[in-house]
Every structure is written in C-alpha cells, then in structure tokens.
C-alpha cells in the first residue's frame, strides 16, 4: 500500500472548497452559538425558577442527545412547521444551537466565579448598568471564559463534519466525494484530518495568545503563575 500525493494534487480544488465551507460555517456557528448562549445563561442565572426552567430544559435536552440526532431532528423535523431551508442553513443553526448550550454553562460559571459586589461597586461610583458590565464585569469574565470557550469552539469545528450527513458541502463531504471517485481513502482522509487539525490548532494558538494578553497578574508569584498556565512543561520540542 502506498501514499500517492498525486491524488491530492489532482483533487485539491474540491478539498479546498470544502475546507472553505467548513471554516465559514464553523465560524458562523461559533459566533451564533455564543450569541445565543448569552440569553440562555442569563435565564439560567435568573432568580425566578420559572425563568430558569426553560433554559435548564433546553440545556438538558440538547446536551442529552447526540449531535447527529439533533441535526436530523432540525433538518427533517423543521419542514413540518415551516419552509424547508437549505441544508447549510439548518446545519449551521443546529451546530450553533449545540454549541450554545455548552457556551451558556461556561458563561454561567464565569459569572458565578466573579467576586461579589462587582456590579454594585460599579453602580456605586455612578456607572450605569451597561457601563458596569462593560468596564467592570466583562473584562473580568474574559480570562475565565476564553479557555473553556476555545474547547467548545474546537469541538464545534470537529462536529461540523457531521453536517456531511445532510449533504452540506463542507470538508468531510468533499472528502467523501473525492474518495468515491478515487478509491484512495488513506490519502484523502489523512489530508482531511490534517486540515481539521490546522484549523483547530490555529484557534487554540490564537486563544492562548489572547489569554496571555488578558492574563491577570496573580499575587502567588511567577512559579504559581507558570504552573497555572500551560507553559509549566516548557516549550514544546
């Protein structure tokens, strides 16, 4: 068995187009998921149980089912209630919704981890609620939010492969097409896997840079700081 790069060279436009679709719909789903997560987290943090209930229910239901099932439910189920939308649209929405419930839990945890009285101290010096969120609350949420959100974003990039099952022309779907024509699964899927890795690794690198920039100086000192970050194990070879 041999690895024939010619197959990839011949078919790269198909894979490249699939990769572009994957990048775009993942990015869209991540943004959409995060935006949808904010009201879900806000509801989950509400004092009144009747407000918490719908958020809790949504989180439980979506987290409790495989993404493929959620995707099928939305893609094949929604046309019973409205117009049939293109697979790319329902697929991206399903991916966003899937991410939203995880993002919501991360946001909720970050808000709960805030020191008490922060909102109030902003209000006490005359900031409006919005100004307090902007200057006091949000900057404190970022360091706690970034690493787990990156994990979720990476998960969404990889789950986007599932959209191939409803014929969204993304990377895995394109790979299946090429594989079907060339009968060279090894070449095609090694290349495909590498492209997913590149995307996911680029995101992780950007996130690490971002969290370094936002890193709070901790009073514990440099050693604790090193061991609380990923640099404790030295630069990778």
């Amino acid at each position: 068995m041999s690895f024939d790069p010619a197959i990839l060279i011949d078919n790269w436009p198909v894979l490249a187009r699939g990769f572009a679709v994957t990048v775009m719909l993942s990015a869209l789903a991540i943004v959409l998921g995060f935006v949808m997560a904010i009201p879900i987290a806000a509801l989950k943090l509400a004092r009144h149980p009747m407000l918490r209930l719908p958020a809790a229910l949504l989180i439980e239901v979506v987290r409790g089912m495989p993404f493929l099932v959620l995707l099928y439910l939305l893609h094949f189920g929604l046309p019973f209630f409205g117009p049939r939308l293109p697979a790319t649209v329902t697929g991206t929405f399903a991916l966003g919704l899937f991410g939203a419930v995880y993002f919501a839990e991360v946001i909720r945890a970050a808000v709960l981890a805030l020191p008490r009285g922060q909102m109030e101290s902003g209000r006490a010096v005359g900031m409006t609620r919005l100004q307090s969120v902007r200057h006091i609350i949000a900057p404190q949420l970022v360091p706690g939010l970034l690493p787990p959100s990156t994990n979720i974003a990476q998960m969404l990039i990889k789950e986007s492969a599932v959209l191939s099952s409803i014929t969204v022309p993304e990377l895995t779907y394109s790979a299946l097409l090429v594989q079907g024509q060339t009968f060279s699964p090894v070449e095609v899927f090694v290349a495909t896997g590498t492209l997913y890795w590149v995307l996911s690794h680029a995101l992780a690198t950007a996130s690490t840079r971002g969290s370094r920039r936002h890193a709070r100086r901790r009073p514990q000192g440099r050693i604790a700081d090193r061991f609380l970050s990923l640099d404790a194990f030295g630069p990778r070879p």
Binding site: P115, R116, G117, Q118, E120, S121, R123, A124, V125, G126, M127, T128, R129, Q131, H135, I136, P139, Q140, R216, R217, R218, P219
Partner: protein, 274 residues
C-alpha cells in the same frame, strides 16, 4: 473633635422620612438625618438594626420605599411615598446613575476591581462617569494616592495589597469623584486597632475639606475619636441622636444604655493571677 464642622451651613446631606422594607418587614423605618459640610455623623446600633440598609437606601443602591434624600439642597433620586413617586425636584426618567457620584460609598468589603491596578481603580470612574480626560484623571488619582500614602502602590493589583492599603484605595476611588457626601460602611471591621486610629484621623481630614461623612461602625472607640454626632439606630428607628460624647457618656434612652453596656462591659480591673 468638631473642629471642622460648620453646623450653621446648609446641610450637605438631608435624609427625610426614609423607609425601606424587605419582604414586608420594615428595616429602616422613618429615618430623618441631616449632616452639615465638614461634619461626621456616626450611626451605631446592634447587628441587624438597619444600619447598612439605611446607608444603602441613602445612596439608592436599594431605592427607598418612602421618603427622600437631598445632597447640597438638590434632590438625590425622586421623592417616594406610599401613594407613588412624587418627582419633587427630580426630572421624570432621570437616571440615578447620573447623580450617584455626588455620594461616595465605601463598602465594608471594599469591592475593589481585581482586574485593574490601583491607578485604574481610582481613574476608571472618573473617565467613565465624569468624562475626565485620561491625563486629568491620572493626575487626580496620583495626587489622592500620594495623600493617602500609597503612591508607590499605583501599579499593583488590589490582591497584592494589605487590608489597610486596600481600604485606602477604596477611599481614593470614592474621593476621586469629589463627592460632597461620603458614606462608610463599617470602615474598621477589617483593620487592626492601630490602623483604626489612622483611619479615624484620615476620615477626619477628609471631613475637614468640607465633606459630610456618615460612618456606620461597631467600634465605640472609633466613633468616639471620629464623630461629631451620633445616631443610635434600633429596630429601624433613630432612637437617640446628639453630640457623640453626650450619647456615649450620658445615654438617655435605656436601649442605648444597654447597647453601650454590652459593648463596653464595666469589667473590674483584672486581678493579678495567683
């Protein structure tokens, strides 16, 4: 003790008929107070008597159910009554946030902003609330920090400071907005006795600049050193009010007498151990 107080001047802070209930239970019940510029009013009373609630209601952190507050003769928040909101001297729809900088509030737990350094803690509200240009805000902050003896801590985070230094940052943060009125909730609860004296002296100086201070405290030694007048709160009412020394040394109301006796029990001098 009352060196800087100007009791004849128009009151810097007036509180009239303030009420606040939680879950139908009145916590602050018809409290009226008046503090002149340069005067320090102490509020004493048992735990749960409504001291902190009163302070928070004055600053409208918890809006009062009834009564109203004036700062320097101007309405601070709408006047409220059981019949509804009476907007005497208060434009409809006006956001209380726009007025809050006129009352400085120093929380018992300080609530400094951990993501900002000391300088940021003192400048942020100046730029956001008063729209001061950054150089002006920074200059003001540095001057305040120098006055409070923590100029060398400007680049540190609150978590890197001692309790006493953190408190100075909180005071600087409130002073940076030049409020004519400052409210302090238990300013000595986290400090050792030596620092307590320093804080009393510091607050005295701040009042000496013509600001009105209201200080909630449990420490009788502290209020004796600091306050011109005292109000004793019990069950949400001001039971007794007057010059600090008079209240502490010759209480008229039996509840105040019991409170003072409980805090400073007349122990006999300790006998040498055998």
């Amino acid at each position: 003790m009352s060196g800087a107080a100007q009791p004849d001047a128009a009151p810097a802070l007036e509180v009239i008929g303030l009420r606040k209930s939680f879950a139908g239970r009145p916590v602050v019940d018809d409290v009226s107070l008046s503090v002149a510029p340069g005067e320090v009013l102490g509020i004493i009373g048992r735990s749960g008597c409504g001291k902190t609630t009163l302070l928070r209601a004055i600053a409208h952190l918890d809006p009062p159910d009834d009564g109203f507050v004036r700062v320097g003769g101007h309405a601070f928040g709408p006047e409220v009554s059981p019949a509804g909101v009476v907007r005497r001297g208060w434009r409809r729809g006006r956001d209380i946030s726009r007025e809050r900088h006129r009352i400085g509030f120093v929380f018992q737990q300080l609530h400094l902003w951990p993501h900002l350094d000391v300088l940021g803690n003192v400048t942020r509200a100046q730029s956001v609330v008063l729209s001061r240009p950054a150089p002006v805000a920074t200059e003001r902050a540095r001057a305040l920090l120098a006055r409070l003896g923590i100029a060398d801590r400007a680049a540190m985070r609150p978590a890197e400071l001692s309790g006493g230094q953190q408190q100075r940052v909180a005071i600087a943060r409130a002073l940076a907005l030049d409020p004519p009125v400052l409210l302090f909730d238990e300013p000595t609860s986290a400090l050792d006795p030596e620092l307590t004296g320093e804080v009393a002296a510091l607050l005295r100086t701040i009042a000496g600049e013509g600001r009105a201070l209201v200080v909630v405290s449990h420490s009788l030694g502290f209020v004796r050193r600091l306050c011109d007048r005292l109000a004793f709160l019990d069950g949400g009412h001001v039971v007794e009010e007057g010059p600090a020394a008079r209240l502490l040394d010759a209480p008229r109301d039996p509840r105040l007498a019991r409170f003072l006796a409980a805090l400073a029990p007349p122990f006999p001098s300790p006998q040498p151990a055998r």
